[in-house]
């Protein structure tokens, strides 16, 4: 079994995943190989699997290449850095899992383990360094959280149960929502210091 992701580790810079799309992918040699098209999340391990690429020209479309997370040198605010073009793989290496449960994360419903929909996903928050872990979601809340269509941030456990259309969270996680990224970082930090790993344990060993 894999080790518990991020337990006790400091929280690195948090980045909204959707903000990564369109960011140039640059080698350490200073050549741009393209720009990020899709941010592909690995639902089983709760982290970024990699990126698919598109060309940077006005007339260019999607590329057949992808960057697996292992080939990412750094996820910067202005560029995604890769050591060299050699880390690029075929597009299929990143996008196909056992099953591309597919679809954009945006708009997926957030369900508690009691079956209450507490919101819809606006974006997924990832940790820019380390293992590229998915640490939280930005969502538009439902009445169940008290405010209708308020933007709230919800910290996720180390292995969030998610598919392309549903994200399941333990109901007690929804009691600790943050209003912004800073609040989310604090919540993630609390969770890691707490170290019980309980939150997010829903769906553990259960088929999605």
């Amino acid at each position: 079994m894999r080790r518990e992701l991020g337990k006790g580790e400091p929280v690195r810079e948090l980045t909204p995943a959707a903000g990564l799309t369109g960011r140039p992918v640059v080698t350490l040699g200073g050549e741009a190989v393209g720009q990020v098209k899709d941010v592909v999340l690995d639902a089983v391990n709760g982290r970024i699997a990699g990126f698919t690429l598109a060309g940077r020209g006005l007339f260019s479309g999607p590329l057949r290449k992808s960057v697996p997370w292992a080939g990412v040198h750094a996820l910067g605010t202005d560029a995604v850095m890769i050591p060299s073009e050699e880390v690029l793989e075929d597009k299929a290496a990143v996008t196909t899992g056992e099953e591309a449960s597919g679809g954009l994360v945006r708009g997926a419903r957030v369900l508690t383990d009691l079956g209450v929909q507490v919101g819809t996903v606006r974006d997924v928050i990832v940790e820019a360094g380390g293992e590229g872990a998915v640490v939280g979601v930005e969502m538009s809340s439902t009445e169940a959280l008290g405010h209708h269509e308020a933007t709230v941030f919800l910290a996720l456990g180390s292995r969030p149960a998610m598919t392309g259309d549903t994200l399941m969270v333990p109901v007690r996680d929804t009691e600790d929502v943050a209003g912004d990224l800073t609040g989310l970082a604090a919540a993630v930090r609390r969770r890691r210091l707490g170290g019980d790993g309980g939150p997010g344990a829903v769906g553990e060993g259960r088929a999605l």
Partner: protein, 48 residues
């Protein structure tokens, strides 16, 4: 028809085509955050 009408027509058609291609390609370049399920290769390193 006067010869320049044909020139205008050709330029218009070329411009329209270019605009359509630009629009289509811009849409194809646009992506999003997608979820796939994969469990085989876990424990891979990555950025620091």
């Amino acid at each position: 028809m006067a010869w320049w009408v044909w020139c205008v027509a050709v330029v218009a058609v070329v411009g329209l085509l270019a605009a359509v291609v630009l629009g289509v390609q811009a849409r194809r370049r646009r992506g999003g955050v997608i979820v796939v399920r994969r469990g085989r290769r876990s424990g891979r390193g990555g950025a620091r």
